[in-house]
Amino acid sequence: MATGTTAAPARHALPFPVAMARPAALVERNLRAARHYWLTFVSGFFEPVFYLFAMGVGIGALVGSVDVDGREIPYAVFVAPAMMATSAMNGAVYDSTGNVFYKLKHSKLYRSVLSTPLRPWDIAAGEISWALLRGLIYSAAFLLVAAVAGFVPSWWALLAIPACTLIGLGFAAVGMAATTYMRSWNDMDYVQLAILPMFLFSATFYPLATYPPALQWVVQATPLYHGVDLVRGLMMGDLHVGLLVHVGYLAVFSALGLWATTRRIGTLLLT
């Protein structure tokens, strides 16, 4: 612990490329490991795409269009941003919980990494950067597919890619922090317990206005809602100040996760 906290001030003095050199070594490690497991890597792309066509095209044929703030929108256009935001969440959570738990408890990877100049912060930054890079590729690919299918009405949609990176940052950071508290693989079920309701109820499949006012507040408190609404605003070209609130919420969510993860790795491994 003492080593982690006292080393921290030096980090802020470093210019960005130098400060990221050590986390980058861990990203490189993950890239090498992924080469041996490339199939898992590729499969991450299909999940949101399958959802998009199942929901957008399949259900969309039954639903027709949805009413958002008085506008009639084809269901596929409505649901595509939600799928993109959700997959950013799922990917980040997947990488930062199961994968991290394995490295923390079973392979003891972080223990040997901490024998080198890398610090807890570098591990947090490296693992999360890796999750984000992976998510970035998926987001870009998804956007391309959705655009080609004709579900993306605005060029502002390009900003949905960095927005998804922010969603990924938040969920990866908080997910990794949560993982440091897990004792066994059984605890992984709690992750699903948190993720699944968010996936279903964060104004993903139908507009927020569908809920009674009291429930709307509950939905608006969850991080995925902010992610979905941000991505939807950008993909539909519907820019407003409210999007900045979403960005702010997700930024704070990310910062908390990063802080907690760094602290916990130090507490667990530098004993």
């Binding site: 612990m1 050590r22 070594a25 490189e28 490690r29 003891k108 223990r111 080198t116 100049p117 004993t271």
Partner: protein, 306 residues
């Protein structure tokens, strides 16, 4: 110049005292050992030196730096071989070296240039593309050592380097470590094997219950705390203490173990003759040179490996 300097060094985990105020100094080029049974505080000491465990009390400097404030700088110059190999099983043999080198901020060219000779050194050149899981225990250990050398450390920390290896694998490993020592790498190792300490250490401390109970070269410790030779006598009795009377006066000191008597003597063969002359007939008798095992037994009243 001393690479490691500890004064009154302590490590506590809650109420448990793992290291209880030890003074240690290790000079550059030296081979230094911490000898003691499991739970003596060796690993805790090594982890504090490796800057992965905060010091609970006393003072510690490594390369003249404080681990609390200069952990990364210290680690940059250290090679660490932990008790369990902790290799990266998601990577191949060669990749383990490449990636580990990158953690030290080495360029890709540097790590590539160092990987070949290190695989050679670890006798793993033919296994360079193998999956780590397929390696034998001895191979994994050698890979861990090669990995620890990727940053060309001036100080190598080895925690129980040969525990769990078969005799042949141990001898191969000792040979590799001996080469490093010859090349001027400072070795600090923990062990509960006497033969290992005698093979590899110029100087060592004997630890027990978190304290240092003796210090010196293997030879001087034996001279100081044991006799030149040891006569081991085995009798057909449940309790060897019954037979102590019969050999009284022959040795400087007699130690009673569960399965034999140890007679500390200057001349083992002479003592055996005396035993025979008294009409005492053990099941078996063995004369050997005194070892660090005897030193430990003398100092703590217990043997190292139960």
């Amino acid at each position: 110049m001393s690479l490691i300097r500890a004064t009154g060094l302590r490590k506590t985990f809650g109420d448990f005292v793992a290291v209880d105020g030890i003074d240690v100094e290790v000079a550059a080029g030296e081979s230094f050992g911490f000898l003691g049974p499991n739970g003596a505080g060796k690993t805790s000491t090594m982890r504090m030196i490796g800057a992965t465990s905060p010091v609970s009390g006393g003072e510690l400097t490594v390369f003249g730096m404080d681990p609390a404030s200069h952990a990364s700088q210290i680690k940059a110059r250290l090679g660490v071989v932990p008790q369990t190999d902790a290799l990266d099983e998601e990577l191949r043999v060669r990749e383990n070296l490449l990636v580990y080198g990158r953690y030290f901020g080495l360029t890709r060219e540097q790590v590539r240039a160092r990987t070949g000779p290190l695989l050679e050194f670890a006798q793993l050149t033919e296994k360079s593309d193998a999956v780590v899981e397929s390696l034998s225990g001895g191979m994994k250990r050698r890979l861990t050592i090669a990995r620890a050398l990727i940053n060309e450390p001036s100080l190598l920390l080895l925690d129980e380097p040969t525990t769990g290896l078969d005799p042949q694998a141990r001898h191969v490993l000792w040979d590799r470590l001996f080469r490093l020592k010859r090349d001027g790498v400072t070795l600090v190792l923990t062990t509960h094997y006497m033969d290992e300490a005698e093979q590899l250490c110029d100087r060592l401390v004997v630890m027990d219950h978190g304290r240092i109970v003796a210090e010196g070269s293997p030879r001087s410790l034996i001279a100081q705390h044991a006799s030149r030779e040891v006569l081991e006598l085995r009798f057909d009795v449940a309790d060897h203490a019954e037979r102590v009377e019969e050999v009284a006066g022959i040795a400087e000191r007699v130690e009673v173990l569960a399965d034999r008597l140890l007679l500390y003597v200057h001349d083992g063969d002479g003592a055996l003759e005396t035993v025979a002359a008294r009409g005492v007939h053990p099941l078996s008798a063995l004369v050997r040179r005194a070892s660090l095992e005897d030193v430990f037994l003398r100092l703590t009243g217990r043997s190292l490996i139960e």
